[in-house]
């Protein structure tokens, strides 16, 4: 018995030693630096950092000073800083500790049917928020519910929000974020202060991109930056993602225009010029092989259409009427593609129209 106990204690001691040594081991391997996407890394931390959206920032800053907010509706194309702005504003209002329990963020990855609006949103909005922080300093006496990507909410779910929004103004502010303001039902839109986020200007984009290049030690030539501006169309997130992807692909090499174009899936100019040339030759068979080649090379039809539009609009040997006919067809094809129609057939229809217009129009 005694021996047993002794043995037990010895084992215990050994175990203790072991745990001590293992805990010592644990400290050694330095924590791996988590790779953060640059989009997250360079997300503005405060409202002041938000690029280019001057009016919105001015209004928000005013309301932050008197620590009150109206219900907000942000809309605009992707990558213009809508989500970043409201997150930054909330952080300014509440500080990092209170941020967690004062902000409810719901986006399209959460279930947002009518039942969720009735239960989760309503319950959260009914809680009263105190006007002081745990340390006694004053803070705004309300919570924020961010409904991101609100245009993918069903209209019954939006309708269920109406009364909740009004009734709970004392304790809750809503911020709706969407790409298309037309998909938000009128009664909701009229309860919010609307802000349009515009696509970022080229100067702003360039400034930001160069700033990131400098901080991340990436070299990117002027043509590369220009290609980024062209492909991103005022979408800062897209530009940054492309830049990061390119920098990963080309480790410690200069990023060139061709890299960006390949990542963005841009159809090379020569390919499109060839196709237009074929169109003016009035040969169906040549067009057929040309288009099959294009599709086999994996270029996406929507990209072809976008670039074709830019090309044709500047083409001088077409009359206005011809252009009008072609662009009408272009619009139809675009719609059909979004509906999921076959790429080959749609492009064929578009290019035969162009062929007809060039040769017989």
């Amino acid at each position: 018995m005694h021996a047993f106990l002794k043995g037990g204690s010895a084992a215990l001691e050994r175990a203790k030693e072991k745990s001590a040594s293992s805990s010592g081991d644990k400290e050694e391997p330095a924590k791996k630096t988590r790779q953060v996407p640059w989009v997250e890394k360079y997300r503005p931390r405060s409202v002041d950092d938000v690029a280019y959206q001057d009016e919105v920032v001015a209004v928000l800053k005013k309301s932050l000073q008197c620590s009150d907010l109206p219900n907000l509706l942000f809309y605009g194309p992707p990558g213009t800083g809508k989500t970043s702005t409201i997150l930054a504003a909330a952080r300014d209002l509440f500080g990092p500790e209170m941020f967690r329990n004062r902000v409810l963020e719901l986006n399209a990855s959460d279930e947002r049917g009518i039942s969720v609006v009735r239960d989760k949103v309503k319950r959260f909005s009914q809680h009263t928020a105190s006007g002081t922080r745990p340390d006694g300093k004053p803070c705004p006496p309300f919570k924020i519910i961010i409904l991101d990507e609100a245009d993918s909410m069903t209209s019954p779910a939006q309708a269920a929000l109406r009364r909740t929004m009004e009734k709970e103004t004392k304790t809750t502010r809503f911020c709706l974020i969407c790409n298309y303001v037309s998909r938000i039902i009128e009664p909701i839109a009229s309860r919010c202060a609307k802000f349009r986020f515009k696509p970022l200007s080229e100067e702003t984009l360039t400034k930001r991109l160069l700033g990131i290049c400098e901080k991340e030690n990436v070299s990117c030539d002027d043509e590369g930056i220009k290609a980024l501006l062209r492909t991103s169309e005022g979408d800062l997130r897209k530009a940054i993602t492309y830049l990061q992807s390119a920098s990963r692909l080309k480790v410690e090499e200069t990023i060139t225009e061709a890299d960006i174009n390949e990542i963005a899936g841009v159809v090379p100019d020569e390919v499109l010029d060839d196709l237009i040339m074929i169109c003016s030759s009035d040969s169906y068979e040549k067009l057929d092989t040309g288009l099959r080649g294009l599709i086999n090379d994996g270029y996406s039809a929507s990209q072809v259409i976008t670039q074709l539009h830019e090309k044709l609009i500047e083409k001088e040997d077409l009359t206005d009427k011809q252009k009008a006919v072609i662009f009408e067809k272009l619009a139809v094809v675009d719609k059909c593609l979004i509906d999921g129609a076959d790429e080959y057939l749609q492009l064929m229809a578009l290019f035969t129209t162009i062929m007809h217009q060039i040769c017989h129009g």
Binding site: Q35, P78, E149, L249, I263, G298, D342
Partner: protein, 355 residues
């Protein structure tokens, strides 16, 4: 014994047969220890999946090849039950959300988010992230794609997505802007020829260059198809002869015959016959858009200039309606009827002009 297609599938980035430069880029990407979300796109049968598996192998080692199939159950908000099967290893999970049709959003919301939210326990010995492969993203509903958006950003630390699709047209821009696009172009005819020859060499067979080129041309730059055809030729006859017939799938021949029937005669009676043949094709699981494309290709051969334009336009028109509509046969038949009308009118006008 497995098919040549599977047997000779390259399993590392170094062994890929074409787009070597791209493979080198991908390798560099993986060797830096981390990569962004990827969207791999290109026509079918060019080795998108092969490339992805090579990438994973490079990343995690041979552990990714120990696959298991799992069944997952979900309940939709409307209390409908459904299951989806996933293929997974310790490091990755592969799902085809479009299997469950309209409810794919739930899969994204439940499954992907659960995977994405789980942290890897031991980050010192393995990568800190898992990989989720989503196939046929172009068939995801718009709702499901929206659901992906924020998930992709929020759980970047624990999870990388690799999306695989035929065309990026149907992927919403918001997703495209979050991914690094990897375009996999179809191999050229010569490349296919070379690959066929090297595969045959590995099998201990000799393939004449003429036959290889012939198969490559018939395959429409689709490598998988080329390999299958090549194997079919082997079964048919060996040793190979340079002038050997390359058998086409019988449904293609059937489709060609159908097209010829349409051109031969334009009458309601013929339309009925054609309908029976179209039904035959559909019941054999030939996708309706493939039928439409095949029909167009054959029919156009019998038309001249002006007429071609009109036929192509109507094919595009009916194919679009086919995608938005419910039953394929209506639209296929409508196209056939339309073609008959156009063709007949053209001929009658031609005859009237003669007199």
């Amino acid at each position: 014994m497995s098919l040549w297609v599977d047997k000779h599938r390259p399993n590392s980035l170094n062994k890929l047969d074409f787009h070597k430069e791209q493979a080198a880029h991908l390798k560099k990407l993986v060797n830096s220890g981390d990569f962004p979300h990827l969207i791999v796109y290109g026509p079918s049968g060019v080795g998108k999946k092969t490339r992805i598996m090579c990438l994973l192998r490079e990343l995690y080692g041979s552990g990714v090849e120990k696959l298991r199939i799992e069944q997952h159950n979900f309940t939709t908000p409307s209390k409908k039950k459904m299951d989806i099967s996933t293929i997974s290893s310790n490091y990755h999970i592969e799902v085809n959300p479009s299997d469950v049709g309209n409810n794919d959003r739930v899969v994204i919301q439940e499954l992907i988010k659960t995977v994405a939210q789980t942290n890897q326990l031991e980050t010192s010995s393995q990568k800190s992230f898992k990989v989720v492969i989503l196939t046929e993203v172009d068939r995801l509903s718009v709702d499901a794609q929206h659901a992906l958006r924020r998930t992709m950003e929020k759980y970047m630390a624990t999870c990388r997505l690799i999306l695989c699709c035929n065309s990026t047209s149907k992927v919403i821009p918001a997703i495209r802007s979050r991914c690094l696009g990897v375009r996999v172009a179809a191999p050229s005819i010569e490349q296919i020829g070379q690959i066929l020859q090297s595969v045959c060499k590995k099998e201990g067979l000799s393939l004449p260059l003429e036959l290889a080129t012939k198969i490559a041309k018939k395959s429409n730059r689709n490598l998988r198809r080329a390999l299958l055809m090549c194997e079919a030729c082997r079964v048919q006859q060996y040793p190979f002869r340079p002038d050997q017939e390359v058998t086409e799938p019988d449904w293609e021949l059937y489709l060609k015959e159908t097209a010829n029937l349409i051109v031969e005669q334009q009458s309601p009676k013929r339309l009925l016959e054609v309908r029976a043949r179209l039904y035959e094709l559909i019941t054999h699981c030939i996708p309706a858009d493939v039928i439409m494309r095949g029909l167009l290709q054959e029919l156009v051969k019998n038309c001249d200039g002006e007429l071609k334009l009109e036929v192509v336009q109507s094919a595009a028109y009916y194919e679009h309606r086919l995608q938005t509509g419910q039953k394929a046969i209506y639209h296929l038949e409508a196209f056939v009827a339309k073609f008959m009308a156009i063709y007949k009118r053209f001929f009658e006008e031609g005859i009237a002009d003669l007199f």
